[in-house]
């Protein structure tokens, strides 16, 4: 008995010696759902153990900066992809250029993630999770309004026309919804309308503003017309994002911009809402998507770069992408895996997955100030254009504020 116990202890000692090290891994809370099982699976393999810390999304940057300043940065971080340029510019991330290039599936990785991970020619992160914006629409309301539930709008004219027909059903029913006081929501769902129409708010290098352009004005004018015609609920004006999806779940909204995340939520919590998923359209057809999600990288100061990279590589393996990410309602970040056994169960997942491949993301070290700030120029422009004085004043002012921020240190 004693011998057995001793042998057991010896074995324990051995395995912990084999389990080289523990690496720390930080993610934002919105990823919690699929990251917890992911880390569990990795730790169950034996070997390096990953210690996961989940941080509220709003506090992530602050916490991370504090940790870096205090010399206790985690070994691995998964961050909102839009922050990678500013993290890289601040010299906080390990250069992964060569490691990333050596990946056999490097070419299939979400191009938007990769583009944002590159700063001054070097790559500082690889894609981790994907979240593409789409148009969700209520099939029941489509049917009631005499529309074909399998033919979502393909351009602005159709979108407006369908919204009119659905609003005409009367009662509380409205054709369209957007969170009029939510900066991030509109970066996610309104920018694609501009991109799909062939325009953009930033130049290709992300260093100058192109707000005062026809494509931006057209998209804003569409929203303004729909607002003034009463096709959008009055509450949209003040919605800071709390009703971003809630409004649609009531079953009284015809169409709304949303993200892949809503598919899982709607299926799980609102099984009565019969919804469809379509790409966000452009003025004369075409489509686009905000390719969002998280990128994963190694902060400077990590004591275990080798083990950290092993973990990152594992996350991108086919088996893990499908059996972890896709299975738990996320989209794979490899285009070769957009269609997989889980997307076949619900083809609605394919729309955002495919959109990821062609989707765009603004590249700017000032992203937070420009787009995410609830009191910044992006939201101010939408409010002024849709609810306020009008499109022309709004874009002129936004062009000025964008330029000012882009030129500041």
């Amino acid at each position: 008995m004693k011998k057995l116990l001793f042998a057991g202890l010896l074995l324990l000692g051995f395995s912990s010696a084999l389990a080289q090290a523990t690496i720390t891994f930080w993610v934002r809370d919105s990823d919690q759902g699929f990251v917890e099982p992911l880390v569990k699976a990795y730790n169950a393999k034996g070997g390096t153990q990953v210690k996961l810390t989940v941080i509220p999304a709003g506090q992530f940057v602050t916490k991370f900066a504090t940790a870096v300043a205090g010399g206790s940065a985690p070994d691995v971080v998964a961050i909102d992809l839009i922050y990678v340029p500013s993290f890289a510019a601040a010299d906080q991330m390990t250069d992964l250029t060569d490691l990333a290039k050596a990946l056999p599936y490097a070419k299939t990785l979400s191009p938007s993630h990769v583009r944002l991970a590159i700063y001054e020619g070097k790559q500082y992160a690889v894609p981790f999770s994907a979240e593409g914006s789409v148009l969700i629409y209520n099939k029941d309301l489509f049917k009631k309004a005499g529309l074909d539930p399998n033919k979502p709008p393909k351009n602005f004219a159709e979108l407006e026309d369908y919204a009119k027909k659905i609003t005409a059903l009367g009662g509380d029913i409205k054709g369209y919804y957007f969170s009029g006081a939510c900066a991030g929501c509109n970066a996610f769902t309104f920018l694609p309308l501009i991109w799909a129409s062939g325009g953009d708010v930033l130049s290709a290098d992300g260093k100058s503003a192109t707000v005062n352009t026809p494509a931006v004005k057209d998209a804003l004018a569409l929203y303004r017309r729909m607002w003034q015609a009463g096709l959008i609920p009055a509450g949209a004006k003040a919605d800071t994002g709390t009703n971003f999806l809630t409004a649609f779940t009531t079953g009284r909204i015809g169409m709304a911009g949303s993200g892949a995340f809503s598919i899982g939520t709607l299926k799980r919590d609102y099984p009565k809402v019969d919804f469809g998923i379509a790409p966000l359209p452009g003025k004369n057809g075409g489509s686009s998507s905000f390719a969002g999600g998280d990128s994963i990288g190694i902060p400077k100061g990590s004591k275990n770069v080798q083990a950290a990279w092993e973990f990152i590589k594992w996350c991108l393996e086919e088996d893990v992408q499908v059996q972890q990410f896709a299975k738990n309602g996320s989209i794979p970040v490899r285009s070769d895996l957009a269609e997989n056994e889980y997307s076949k169960l619900d083809p609605r997942f394919v729309v955002p997955a495919k959109a990821m491949a062609t989707g765009k993301t603004p590249y700017s070290v000032k992203y937070n100030e420009l787009f995410n700030d609830a009191n910044g120029p992006w939201l101010a422009m939408i409010q002024e254009a849709v609810f306020g004085r009008g499109v022309d004043e709004a874009v002129a002012k936004a062009q000025e504020s964008f330029t000012k921020i882009l030129n500041s240190k």
């Binding site: 500013s86 009055a234 509450g235 409004a247 700030d373």
Partner: protein, 302 residues
């Protein structure tokens, strides 16, 4: 004290007092340490940071007084200061009037009065963040009870947070609800400290209830008013949670308070140095306001 002791005392006092002095200092040391660690050191660090370009991430560099120069031409700062002043001027009298009325109501020996005191005080014990969230949902356009009632009564046609006037009104209502109990308790304690004899004498002299209030309660509550006023003004100038949560600074950036702007400078723009400069200026302004208030009220006490 025995005669022997008092006879001996003149010989000892200096040494005794000295020992007492040190003992006294020892007793104060713990709080001094707290003040040093949690106020003086952070304050000095804030001063130090305000002289730098100090990004949240990356390296900082010395810029001298540049942050303070930028502050002078910062429109958002001045408009946020104006808005905070407006908010303070509105919310303080509102809290006072309601708290005074409530204090009068519960300042009696009736049955159940304890229950009402508790009910009025209850919102004070929940956090401001929590209460703000509660009101966000009450005013929610889709599911909020209050918003629905307002719609049904045709008092509004838009969500409360949709225009700057109603958004501010909604915040005012929530803050009064949340803090009025505290001021009520302060006033109640003050009222109960006034001797009954004064009211009896006034009654005998034929004073009406209104005259009792006007010439006894209000003048004798002056010190309580001073305390409540300073607490309310400082609290209102530091307003952040309620606006951050309820209005998000909107609509159209019309409800941004000074602390909100400091928060944005520091954690949206990642300019900690500038945020520090703003904080120091706000501290100076608040100190000045408090000094003025104290001087004015001291004058009045004579």
């Amino acid at each position: 004290m025995s005669p022997a002791q008092s006879a001996r005392s003149p010989a000892v006092p200096r040494r005794r007092l000295g020992a007492r002095h040190w003992a006294g200092l020892l007793f104060v040391v713990p709080s001094l340490i707290f003040v040093a660690v949690f106020f003086l050191v952070p304050l000095l660090m804030t001063v130090w940071m305000s002289l730098h370009n100090w990004p949240l991430l990356g390296k900082y560099s010395f810029v001298g007084l540049e942050n303070y120069q930028n502050l002078l031409s910062d429109d958002t700062f001045w408009s946020s200061l104006g808005f905070t002043t407006k908010y303070t001027l509105l919310v303080t009298p509102m809290i006072f009037v309601v708290a005074y009325a409530l204090a009068l109501l519960v300042n009696r020996a009736a049955r159940w009065v304890g229950i009402f005191r508790t009910i009025y005080f209850l919102p004070v014990v929940i956090g401001l963040g929590t209460s703000s969230l509660l009101w966000v949902w009450l005013f929610n356009d889709q599911v909020g009870i209050l918003q629905t009632v307002l719609y049904r009564l045709s008092l509004v046609s838009e969500p409360a947070m949709g225009s700057s006037g109603t958004a501010l009104a909604a915040v005012l209502v929530s803050v009064v609800w949340k803090t009025v109990g505290f001021t009520m308790i302060l006033l109640l304690v003050g009222m109960q400290a006034i001797p009954d004899e004064l009211y009896e004498a006034a009654k005998i002299d034929g004073a009406s209830p209104w005259q009792s209030q006007r010439f006894i309660t209000v003048p004798l509550l002056r010190r309580t008013f001073a305390l409540a006023l300073i607490l309310s003004v400082i609290g209102s100038y530091l307003a952040f949670d309620q606006f951050y949560i309820m209005t998000g600074g909107g609509p159209n950036n019309s409800t941004i308070t000074v602390v909100y702007w400091i928060y944005r400078a520091s954690f949206t723009y990642f300019k900690l140095g500038y945020g520090s400069a703003l904080s120091l200026i706000l501290m100076l302004i608040l100190t000045a306001i408090s000094i003025v208030q104290l001087l004015v009220l001291r004058e009045e006490r004579r």
